[in-house]
């Protein structure tokens, strides 16, 4: 039992309701004509409890990264609400905050990037990189800043003496630690981790995942962990949400989702991941066709053309996200009747 579980209140730190991000496809230079929209995020709803980790999984183009960015208000959403229980501002809707409030909010919501090679300014020392949030927000400067940075570097497992060096002197794993230190500088409540271990070697991934878990325990952090790697997500998340072409198709507690998936796409994802055991060589469910185009999605359920369980209703009517079991949400017309394959075999 870790501290995070004990500290976990029933308080929702983040509540996302009907979030939409439609990017216009334009033609022309001075006079632009809108040809259509890429529906990157299309009516997504989920929540994260304080101290918890929500894993957000899906393949390329599903909208998970855009969702992460929307929560940080890097884009202005087309529609929807993002309720956040900010430590200083109280319960606010991130989607409608003004500039002043946003500056405050951004202390409490931080981001860890995927690529450790492009997310650190090569012309800044570690002291400057990790200290910048403190400086910019007027939290510390001079010798106090140095002390804070030294503490942060120690917390992520780097020697404080390294603060005079530049990023190029460090390996991928070490750079990712620098990114983590930077994200923690202002004691955030929520950290959005956008594929933080995907670019790292296998043995280093384990180090960084362990670090993230330790820090969560120590500082009571809440994570939105975005990844396409199902085994990594399973390891680190309390709850998991699955996205497909801008839609949230299923969300549940981790163990529940992996043992009892209720959406055919989740089943296919679980089945497709190659298992690191030659004795588990079963034929995976291989989906036909290509991932749908978010600028021109299929009618009805976006997944229906690739779904082996589809019925007529699936091509005409979009399914709604429904709570099919306590805390288990699915958007599928046949969720009640289907018995799908989870990681431990067929569901009952």
């Amino acid at each position: 039992m870790n501290l995070a579980e004990n500290a976990k209140s029933n308080h929702l730190l983040l509540e996302v309701n009907n979030l939409k991000m439609h990017f216009p496809i334009q033609r022309g230079f001075f006079v632009t004509k809108v040809l259509g929209y890429v529906k990157a995020v299309d009516d997504v709803s989920f929540y994260i409890r304080e101290g918890e980790t929500l894993g957000l999984v899906g393949e390329s183009g599903c909208g998970k990264t855009t969702t992460g960015r929307l929560i940080l208000r890097a884009y202005d959403p087309t529609a929807g609400e993002i309720w956040f229980r900010d430590r200083d501002l109280g319960r606010v809707n991130i989607a409608t905050l003004d500039k002043q409030q946003l500056r405050q909010l951004r202390r409490n919501t931080q981001l860890i990037f995927q690529d450790p090679y492009s997310s650190l300014n090569p012309r800044m020392t570690l002291l400057e990189i990790v200290g910048e949030p403190l400086l910019v927000n007027g939290v510390a400067k001079g010798p106090e800043l140095k002390n804070r940075v030294a503490e942060l570097l120690k917390v992520v497992g780097l020697r404080p003496e390294y603060m005079t060096r530049y990023p190029h002197a460090f390996s991928g794993g070490q750079r990712q630690r620098i990114g983590v230190a930077r994200a923690l500088a202002l004691n955030p409540q929520l950290v959005v981790c956008d594929e933080p271990v995907s670019a790292l070697d296998v043995s280093v991934q384990a180090q960084i995942l362990n670090l993230l878990q330790d820090l969560q325990q120590k500082f009571g952090l809440t994570y939105l962990f975005i990844s396409h790697d199902l085994s990594v997500v399973e390891h680190i998340s309390d709850r998991v949400a699955v996205m497909y072409v801008g839609k949230l198709v299923e969300s549940a507690a981790t163990t529940e989702l992996y043992i009892n998936p209720r959406h055919p796409y989740t089943e296919a994802l679980l089945s497709a991941a190659p298992k690191p055991d030659p004795r588990l060589r079963t034929e995976p469910i291989v989906l036909q066709g290509e991932v749908a185009d978010p600028a021109n999605p299929p009618s009805g359920c976006y997944f229906h053309p690739r779904c082996q369980y589809q019925i007529d209703q699936c091509s005409t009517e979009e399914p709604k996200l429904r709570e099919i079991a306590p805390d288990h949400f699915v958007s599928c017309h046949r969720a009640q009747e289907l018995r799908l394959m989870g990681v431990l075999g067929q569901t009952k």
Binding site: A206, I259, P274, P276
Partner: protein, 341 residues
């Protein structure tokens, strides 16, 4: 009949740079039998890609093969219909000569990681695959086009007759990789070298490509040298595995043995450090990570290159002498002082 297809003996490929000499491949031995899949596993910098490129003799400057032998056993059909094996020492042949250029693409083909890196953006996939066919076979343009469409069908390309004239930018990642595989297979190679072919693809697309490669291998009877750092893919795709670290092979065995009875500390540490699907459902565990990082190639540790990160190291031994590569049990080799012949 001789079942060996490729033999690599004591291969050393070094890169001569201003900063020093990087011993990317430093004494590697292995062999691949006809129709077999050999997995080459290792993390960044272990030398697996350079090994593949050494076999194809396309090591970029300032790298070159400094020692060792690579022998290809090519099957040649004789006049009377029987087959004989032609032994070609790839290390002794001119890499840019007509013999090597004749082998590259026809006898041995490469499917690299990034399909966009190997496809020309300004030519249609039909033209590119057709070019590969006409380079190695005496056929007309029309015949090449027909064969191209056949290959696209073979790799599961949707509507090949229409899409043969598509440009790479018009295709998704999965389709591009299929086009590259079609190109690699167009001359029916006896050896396919796949260098992380699915790393850049989504997991459901990866499942499609892996299934395709398995069925093609059965159909065409070709051998595959499968290079990857993904242990899940190794477990699903390979028969024999070699594990590389800092330019050397540290362990070699059947895939089942590697996963269920690893001998080298690096192999076991690697297996313990990966999260496995269903693990949480059974037990909650902290991942056992390997401490430290892969050393700088210009500052390789004395003795066994893995010893600073090894939890089984013996002081005074592992930091002084390099362990020899020995056969611990039949078909299972390891490079570690913990084991005797």
């Amino acid at each position: 009949m001789d079942n060996t297809l490729l033999e690599v003996k004591n291969l050393k490929t070094y890169f001569f740079l201003d900063e020093g000499t990087a011993r990317a491949v430093d004494g590697v031995d292995f062999e691949i039998k006809r129709g077999q899949t050999l997995g080459i596993v290792g993390e960044s910098g272990c030398g697996k890609s350079v090994t593949a490129r050494s076999v194809l003799r396309i090591v970029p400057k300032p790298g070159r093969i400094v020692e060792g032998e690579i022998t290809l056993h090519r099957l040649v059909a004789k006049q009377d219909g029987s087959k004989m094996t032609d032994l070609i020492r790839l290390t002794e042949v001119d890499p840019m000569g007509s013999l090597m250029r004749g082998l590259r693409g026809s006898e041995m083909a490469l499917v690299p990681q990034e399909p966009m890196a190997s496809l020309s953006p300004v030519h249609t996939i039909g033209d590119q695959i057709g070019e590969a066919i006409r380079l190695h076979q005496k056929v007309s343009k029309a015949e090449a086009r027909a064969k191209t469409i056949q290959m696209l069908e073979l790799v599961g390309f949707p509507r090949p007759k229409q899409r043969v004239d598509a440009y790479p930018y018009q295709l998704s990642g999965g389709l591009r990789q299929r086009a590259v595989i079609a190109m690699a297979l167009s001359c029916h190679p006896s050896l396919l070298i796949a260098d992380e072919p699915t790393t850049a693809l989504d997991v459901t697309t990866e499942a499609q490509i892996l299934k395709l490669m398995r069925s093609l291998q059965q159909e065409l009877g070709m051998a595959i040298m499968y290079i990857t750092h993904n242990l899940g893919v190794v477990a699903q795709m390979t028969e024999r595995v070699i594990v590389m670290y800092m330019g050397k092979v540290v362990e070699e065995a059947n895939v089942d043995t590697i996963f269920h009875n690893p001998l080298h500390p690096y192999t076991s540490a690697l297996l313990r450090s990966i999260p496995r699907l269903g693990m949480k459902a059974r037990e909650r565990q902290r991942l056992a990570s390997i401490r430290g990082t892969v050393p700088d190639p210009y500052a390789i540790p004395k003795g066994c290159s893995f010893h600073p990160r090894c939890d089984k190291k013996i002081r005074g031994v592992c930091d002084q002498q390099e362990p020899t590569y020995i056969e611990v049990e039949p078909g299972h080799k390891a490079r570690c002082v913990l084991y005797k012949q």
